[in-house]
Subunit: 197 residues, 2 copies
Amino acid sequence: MGISPRQFEQLQERVAGKKRATRKPVVDEVAHRVIIGVDPSLRGTGYGVIRLDQPEPKTLAQGTIKCPARLGRSQCLAEISRTLREVVARHRPTACAIEGLFYTQNMKTALTMGEARGAAMAVLAEADIEIFEIAPRKVKQSIVGYGNAQKLAVAKMVQRMLVLDELPEPDAADALALALAFTHLHKRFAIDPSQKI
Amino acid sequence: MGISPRQFEQLQERVAGKKRATRKPVVDEVAHRVIIGVDPSLRGTGYGVIRLDQPEPKTLAQGTIKCPARLGRSQCLAEISRTLREVVARHRPTACAIEGLFYTQNMKTALTMGEARGAAMAVLAEADIEIFEIAPRKVKQSIVGYGNAQKLAVAKMVQRMLVLDELPEPDAADALALALAFTHLHKRFAIDPSQKI
């Protein structure tokens, strides 16, 4: 196959002893002290805001945006927008961790899930919040140490890490887990940071 | 299999000569004078606002929200939100016609399309605009009289129906076609109105 001119150039540079360009860190972790985690879904979007603090991060807000079945799809999206806008205005997060691509065989599910994500992401991006995707598996790995951990195990660990009096609701727990996982994945020199979208 | 108590009751009512409940019209067409059509996509969302008028509807606004490749996904969604919010604030439509379910084999496409739809729908629903879905095929049938019509044929017909000086851009033309199709489908006694979502 041979090599491309660009590859040849790179080889020449290496032979000449030039250092390869070091990869820039994807995000400057110092810049983000307040992080919002969002787990979007049409009927129950979870959110959780944490502030990095010692000895453990502080929970500023958490909850589930519940949209009962009597609300139409567009009404749910409006509700997601409104609630997240209020939360963001109050706590001013600078980074958001959102659940990464999931796989489903059902096209309608993907479209509906996409709509909830879109409503949430638009509000966050309009508030100049940087949005990062983290795969569900990675969140579990980061929180419980096991990628197939059950939801309850994640919730319990979140409660412990944030020293919460009560077990958070499932959707809120997932959102708090996303925010916590973001802080772990973006420590300086993290080799596998989450992807900015 | 027998019949359910409810069915039995209905039969009794019919035997007793009671009229069946007539289906309520899905939308009161008199209420909607200004209609926005939206054809959402991440990189080029088309929109068009028309006002019902004689002898033909008047075009209040039309355009494409272009998001170049250098913008991240979340930035595009914010741009869709911002632009539609401005358009809505200026022209105050009360109904929106949006493209209905489409089918794709690609899950990522469905998710991305869903995100653009979600960002758009959230803004419209927050402005108390009623949103209706119309299938692409139905739009073409309504405008050109043929469900498999090509995009150019639709654009030309839209130009003619709205007496526009220039051929609208493809995405804007699709959005205007949606708004026009909505007015056709929601004439009083329409047998197959579009679905409110």
